[in-house]
Symmetry: C2
Subunit: 237 residues, 2 copies
DNA sequence: CGAGCCGTTGAGTTCATTCAAACAGGGTGG
DNA sequence: CCACCCTGTTTGAATGAACTCAACGGCTCG
């Protein structure tokens, strides 16, 4: 499954690190450690077997980190856009992996040991890493807040707002979703049908408008965000 | 609200840090930075105003980190037991805070700047911090997995299994919950009634037994964990 | 003893899910 | 070019689950 990149690792990974450790005056940078991986939509970037060996960072495209629960359901733990950093933290008993979400996704895989070694010797790198880990932590907390929402409409609305903050979008609130309905469903712990219904519902309420399944326009961001408080929808409709 | 600890901070916080920075030969340890806070059940440890200034670590007792959503619902982001580390990551627009869950809870508050400075000069401390951040990340991911479960029974079951792994419990699977039903509800994004019903349901199924509201005994851990797959409950009941 | 909090149980409603079907778009091959 | 398939999306109907509102029992503390 993931064998394609392991030779690269064996060739340029730990060995190179050990070699260079003896020359601290050589400015080693994060990118020197990166094992580049290119994948098309749906292809596995890394699988369950070596998930605690690497850290991952999306360079272009987007990826999803997920866990397959014993029941067969897939829970997406994180949606990775360019510059996002991610690593699994040893949840045992599940199959977990990282897939590309769009074609030509480029992910950098950093061997953890080597990254640690580099961080020890270069505090600028250490700062960069901790900033990225903090970013991952932030996305994690925000997903908890979304999953903690009560209704599907609120979850989808909050998802759209969060995504809008992360992807390129014009001032008019137009954005292109990187994900399919199935990915949204597995991210929000909903069924596909419910996601679809929530989107049409939001459209009918005038909060968003859809131009094709992926092209969303946020018409009323505050309305999306504070749908929680909305008992106003009963009055307004 | 949180004014009680600010004088301590002003007295021994950044000032002390700046002073000692000039003596790198002095072995500065994490505990030197800690602002100790003692709180009883329900008392606030830190509130919304200074949540991005500190990192927190529970030394004894337990605490809850939560966010109050616009609608008034409280989502608990993390349940902190001794040695657990936590920090908010800048979710704007919400009120968030940390409360003690049991009496005599002792929490160490570390000023972030000073912690960073210390980590830069002492790689052992940096390792310790990154290990603790990783622990927080792990709990975060596990909560996502719990929230991603479909039924309330699964959520509560998974919660019990996770808690069992973290609190002291004898070999017979007996443990004492640190939390009330309300806290469990806000942690799992369920209503209190649903939590209560799920617990009695699990009892009827023979997976747990209750000796008082807080005293739980896990009778069948695998059954709790893999309730996901269980269509067996229809046959068995 | 009363007040207040916590926990449980019941009844009715709301909401998400499942199962099912239909539709749209992109690709391939005839 | 059209037929066809496949994937992704949407909508409908019926079931099932969690929520709200409500009431009650237990417990602690003043």
């Amino acid at each position: 499954m993931t064998g394609a990149i392991r030779p690269i690792h064996a060739r340029g990974g730990h060995h190179l690190v050990q070699q260079r450790r003896n020359y601290p005056h050589v400015a080693r940078r994060l990118e020197d450690l990166a094992i580049p991986v290119f994948r098309n939509r749906g292809e596995e970037i890394h699988g369950s077997d070596c998930s605690d060996v690497y850290w991952y960072r999306v360079l272009s495209g987007s990826a999803r980190c997920y866990v397959v629960l014993p029941g067969g359901r897939r829970q997406i733990l994180d949606l990775l856009l360019p510059d996002d950093f991610f690593g699994f933290t040893g949840d045992e008993g599940h199959f977990y992996g990282i897939d590309a979400v769009v074609d030509n996704t480029n992910v950098a895989c950093y061997p953890r040991e080597a990254l640690q070694t580099l961080a020890d010797s270069d505090s600028a790198v250490a700062h960069e890493i901790s900033a990225m880990v903090l970013g991952a932590m932030s996305r994690s907390q925000q997903l908890i807040l979304i999953l903690g929402r009560t209704t599907a409409r609120e979850k989808v609305g909050a998802f759209l707002v969060k995504i809008m903050q992360r992807v390129v979008n014009d001032d008019a609130g137009r954005l292109v979703l990187p994900t399919s309905r199935y990915d949204i469903a597995d991210y929000l712990a909903l069924s596909v049908e419910t996601v679809s219904r929530a989107l049409t519902d939001l459209t009918h309420r005038g909060l968003i408008s859809l131009a094709g399944p992926r092209r969303v326009r946020i018409l009323n961001r505050c309305g999306l965000d504070e749908q929680l408080t909305s008992d106003s929808d009963r009055q307004g409709d």
